[in-house]
Symmetry: C2
DNA sequence: ACATGATGTGTAACCGGTTACAGGTCGAAT
DNA sequence: ATTCGACCTGTAACCGGTTACACATCATGT
């Protein structure tokens, strides 16, 4: 590894001058600059960013904490972030939290020690004090973490409402909901949207809502039980797309036709929904833009500016497809 | 941020002693140790890993370069790596190369500057000289990069053979192949496996092979053309699972029954294959284990040991499902 | 002729750790 | 009594950059 000293020696100047040349600051004589640049070229010198980080107290690295990259919703999110940041000269550290506050804490600690410049976090475990004492620029993505942290999210409650109403619009009479995990705020809000629409209807009872844990398999299983108990159900709003696939599978195994006997709508708009047959109607999130904007905001924070707009809501798009076509 | 000096001052010892305590090396008197530990506790001191990296010339960070995290094959791969490495105290930098040698080079440069301890790479663009001059421990995953680099892969050619044979086993007479991108070695090898089986059969012609670029949509499109041209085809081996889904879609739009009129087999064994109906037969890779073993090997290299076994082949599993059930 | 400010360059301190080395104590062996 | 090695601790150099500051030169205006 060639160092700045090697370059300085080779160009017959001091290290300060070399530093000035490569950072383009301070005064440097044109001829000197050329000599240095030649030396840099010849020795194939690349400045050591660790040394630079130590002095500057910033690393040109950011962290992104997601629950699980294996969940098909997150890769696109991560990609949006990474794509934007690499252009800005930042590299991205990936962390899978499994929704475990302990792991989040650990990752945050490690990142702090590495002088990570900022963090994008998908979480609602928000231990407020801990986050605050971290003292790193942070933005929330997909879920609100707390009031002061800029968040890039969609309106889950409204989405829940729209999804449920869509099922009634296409003629459903009895609409059930497969809910995500209780501790995830998004699934809670989607559920609330659903409730807003169905509450007060004479047929509605709590047993029209079952928990699928955002997982396909579990959703398939509980759907079967649900439909056995309530054969009158003719529409299901699943809290995410993976569960919608599960519902589809369940319908199939019960010999129900989709959408004729049972209409299905998912949530998120991941590619998966185009792969099934019938293709799934879903509420699509602008995942890539959301994550890019979050990354953009993080850079803004890192540059020391503030962000006035705390909550940034992105529009959902209702993708009407075969699973609700009547 | 509290530094080692603060701790030293607080415990009334020198920084050297503090360093010895936190690294558990050298001699330290029991009482001194306790004093220091108390100070560390009280000040909530966390050593600055950038400073440490600078001196030690290693960063407890590794990089993983994948073509595109958005491709459903890779998240699990990345997860396998990350899970293992975090346990060993390493963090993971994620890079999306888009199969672009230029980007790979760029990422590699950046990582070198950051004293990344090692790299796991999914690529076959292998500019041998460049990789060599990198002088960073590296292991290849999913594809061989070059002879000397330890690789964790499956036998694609054999897989291609097994997949094709399976279609004949279930009674297919005319088997076509949807091939992945030409420049990806894996798709080339799977194709070769297919050719080995069909070559010499009187009905076989080059037009039984079309290119789907590993993408669902393109595969659907070319499959339609293929089946219009060769209605006698009754089995299709798709070079990956996404394309198998595309084939399934195409069959559907042509009103062909799967598996009765057309049997389909994919490759990779991603979760997606269980989400379609009929569920897709596929050759399943032990993705998680493969990636974990690759991570393990990388650590071995980082510790300065060598790895005798260069090519590590993992077994493929034929998952027989509805799409080939006759 | 001289003050002034822009330009150009080098020295050395600094970022926050690690560790070689020196120097000191102390108990046991000779 | 002396030597020796184990134990304990501090000083300072070092990792590879950045930058404050000092100093020097030179063109310009008065």
């Amino acid at each position: 590894m060639t160092t700045i000293k090697d370059v300085a020696h080779h160009a017959e100047v001091s290290v300060a001058t070399v530093s000035r040349v490569i950072n383009r600051n301070g005064y440097v004589n044109e001829d000197t600059r050329k000599k240095v640049e030649a030396a840099v070229e010849e020795l194939n010198y690349k400045p050591n960013s660790v040394a630079r980080s130590l002095f500057k107290k910033q690393s040109k690295t950011i962290g992104i904490i997601v629950p699980d990259i294996t969940n098909p919703y997150f890769p696109e999110l991560v990609r949006g972030v990474e794509d934007y940041l690499i252009k800005k000269g930042f590299t991205t550290i990936l962390c899978n939290s499994d929704e475990d506050p302990e792991k989040e804490r650990l990752y945050l600690d490690v990142m702090k020690q590495k002088y990570v410049d900022g963090v994008i976090i998908v979480s609602n475990m928000a231990e407020r004090e801990f986050i605050d004492e971290c003292d790193i620029p942070m933005v929330a993505l997909d879920r609100n973490v707390h009031q002061e942290m800029p968040a890039f999210v969609i309106d889950n409650r409204d989405g829940g409402r729209v999804a449920t109403e869509h099922l009634f619009d296409v003629g459903c009479k009895r609409v059930a909901h497969i809910k995500g995990p209780d501790q995830v705020i998004n699934s809670e809000e989607r559920y609330e949207g659903y409730i807003e629409v169905v509450n007060g209807r004479d047929w509605f009872q709590d047993s029209f809502v079952v928990s699928g844990n955002f997982e396909q398999k579990q959703a398939a299983q509980v759907t079967k039980q649900l439909l056995n108990k309530h054969p009158e159900i003719d529409g299901i709003f699943a809290g995410n797309d993976a569960m919608a696939v599960g519902v589809l599978k369940a319908a199939e195994s019960l010999n129900l036709k989709v959408p004729e006997d049972l209409a299905i709508i998912g949530f998120d708009g991941i590619d998966l929904t185009e792969m099934t047959s019938p293709e799934l109607t879903t509420l699509s999130q602008p995942i890539y833009q959301m994550s890019r904007d979050a990354a953009k905001a993080l850079i803004t924070l890192i540059e020391g500016k503030t962000i006035k707009q705390k909550e940034n809501l992105f529009p959902l798009q209702l993708l009407k497809r075969q699973s609700t076509k009547r």
